[in-house]
């Protein structure tokens, strides 16, 4: 059996009347990129803060890198890296000054500091900005700087909280290449996101909603085990069709994509195309195709059920 870098049982955290995280069970394997996928307020940040020892759980057990939290939080700090959701380095320090501060705080020797900082500036394409104040960087540069700081001491486990929220698609792709490089070098990564394409790149992921884990597994497993079938209907009046279909108990959801309608039909229906074409709502020339489920469909099925 492979080594687990994160183990959590029934992890919960309440803030006054808000249950930010409820009964979260987690098992993250070494070397894996694990994703937290969830809408705003679903408890991603709160869960990460508990896993990094910054917040004490209201209930539950956590072991990270074999260390029991919150007792061993100080020891854990030397072995993990954490990139916060909000930029948390110093705006009034330059890129290089920020990195030097981080390197000294992690007690890198002056010699090692210089080498490591140069290496990181080169790796994350920040040499040109090294004398620039962090507060004046673009969103993408700032995010790369945060990543530099988080990996400065070569942590075994990296926590990234919505690292790409202010980044354009090209930079996002590059960023993920860098994550795969880190992963290939043996770093385990836990990353939160609300982008489907990013979630799909993870080795495994958990879908969170209202602080509850709705589903977890590899993206393929999740899509394979989707409790619904996906049919796309090309229609002349998709808006009206959507309203009518949503009234059917067997239709889990219907979403408009331009002139098409993406309909999720309960898995209990053996032939969804036949089922749908018999509905009076459909016009004769509406074309129906069964398509491969996407992660978004998984997200809709696993979160939609209880919110409707």
């Amino acid at each position: 059996m492979t080594e687990l870098v994160i183990q959590a049982q029934t992890l919960s955290r309440d803030f006054a009347d808000v249950k930010a995280v409820q009964g979260l069970d987690l098992a993250v394997e070494k070397g894996c990129i694990y994703g937290f996928l969830g809408p705003n307020g679903s408890g991603k940040t709160t869960a990460i803060r508990m896993l990094t020892g910054l917040l004490r759980p209201s209930a539950g057990e956590v072991r990270v890198l074999g260390l029991k939290l919150p007792q061993a939080a100080d020891e854990l700090r030397l072995r993990i890296g954490y990139m916060t959701q909000k930029f948390s380095l110093y705006d009034d320090l330059t890129v290089k000054e920020n990195l030097r501060f981080i390197a000294s705080v992690y007690a890198l020797s002056p010699r090692a500091q210089k080498a490591r900082i140069d290496e990181l500036l080169d790796l994350y394409h920040l040499e040109a900005q090294q004398q620039r104040l962090a507060g004046r960087l673009s969103g993408g540069q700032r995010q790369r700087l945060s990543l530099c700081a988080a990996v400065m001491h070569k942590p075994q486990l990296l926590f990234l909280d919505e690292p790409t929220s202010a980044v354009d698609p090209q930079n996002r792709r590059d960023f993920w290449e860098q994550l795969f490089d880190l992963s290939a070098q043996g770093t385990s990564i836990l990353v939160s996101t609300h982008y489907m394409d990013e979630a799909e790149r993870c080795h495994r992921l958990a879908i969170l909603e209202y602080g509850i884990k709705r589903a977890d597994g590899t993206p393929e497993e999740l899509m394979r085990n989707l409790g619904a079938q996906v049919v796309e209907i090309a229609s002349s009046d998709p808006r009206r069709l959507k309203q009518r279909l949503l009234g059917l108990p067997q239709v889990v959801s219907a979403a408009q994509l331009g002139s098409r309608l993406r309909v999720l039909v309960d898995a209990a229906i053996s032939d969804p195309v036949a089922y749908l074409s018999h509905q009076s709502a459909l016009a004769a020339d509406d074309a129906l195709t069964v398509v491969r489920p996407s992660l978004e469909d998984v997200f809709v099925v696993s979160t939609g059920a209880r919110s409707q």
Binding site: T52, L54, R56, L78, F101, I102, S104, V105, A107
Partner: protein
Amino acid sequence: MIALQRIGAVLSKELIQLRRDRMTFGMIVMIPLIQLLLFGYAINTNIRHIPVGVLDYSHSGLSRVLIQTVEATQVVKFTQRFSALEAAEAAIANAEVRAVLIIPADVSQRLARHPTVGLGSPPASDELTARPVAQWLADGADTLVAAAIRSLRGMPLTELLDKPANRTTPTFEVTLLYNPEQRTAVHIVPGLVAVILTMTMIMFTSAAIVRERERGNMEMLITTPVRPVELMLGKIVPYIFIGAVQVAIILGLGHVLFQVPINGGLLQLAAATFLFITASLSLGLVISTLAKNQLQSMQMTVFVLLPSILLSGFMFPYEGMPVAAQSIAEALPATHFMRLIRGVVLRDVELVQMMPDVSWLALFTLAGLTLASLRFKKRLD
């Protein structure tokens, strides 16, 4: 174990931030400079040229000479002349004048019989000779003005009549040590060091931790292995130097502009200042761990600053305060430092002779640093 490298990291980061913060950087020099000029020139307990009026019922040559003699003391300056008592009282009420000299119609007779003039054949117990020459009506609400006018009560009148001085032997002889010319600045300037250091040191550090929180750096900072004590030490060390610069500005300029002597040894001065700076800084850190935002930290700074100005002995002598105020004063680092710095600068006292104050400041620093470190939790909840 405390790692010097991590303290150094925090320290150099603070220095860089301080250098980029023009406002704060300017304050370091401007606060002592401006306060010194304000206090040095404005605060003066030797009152001179109080505007007063005169109500002369006698209209004699003698009353004119009397007025000139009184004005020659430089305590008062006659700016108005009244013909009725009501007008005089109204002028005091409106603060046009602070006092009025009422010269009675029979001023010549009164003066002739006045004992200090020395014509006195009649015995001193005589009803007539016991009468004063004239009357002062003063605004008694301002105790300093009242005291100045009162000091005129026994002024000699011999020169008024070109008589040789009829000197009386004083009951006590008074020798004024350390400040024989009685210049207020000599007393104020060393005390100003305590007030300004209290203000700037507490103000700068009280924002230190709060600022990390407000600017969103806290989550990163507590994820790093930096320990609370290291953070606290790294944050106060730069300000020790800044405090030293401010002391040099105040005492140096005080020496040049107001001739305030520096009688004690510089080493004694440095040691006393160091003790007080660290005490103020650690108090600032404690405030910083208590306050939720920079506004609160400012309010708490003022809360400490006011009693430090009023009760530390800067404005009023400690001995004259009620016991309750004295015990509050005893708790304030400024009170102890006020004694130390006045002792060292004016009276050349050695710190070993003032151990109670020295140890209070040292203990205060230790307690403050410990409390701030304990209160600083490396967690978000």
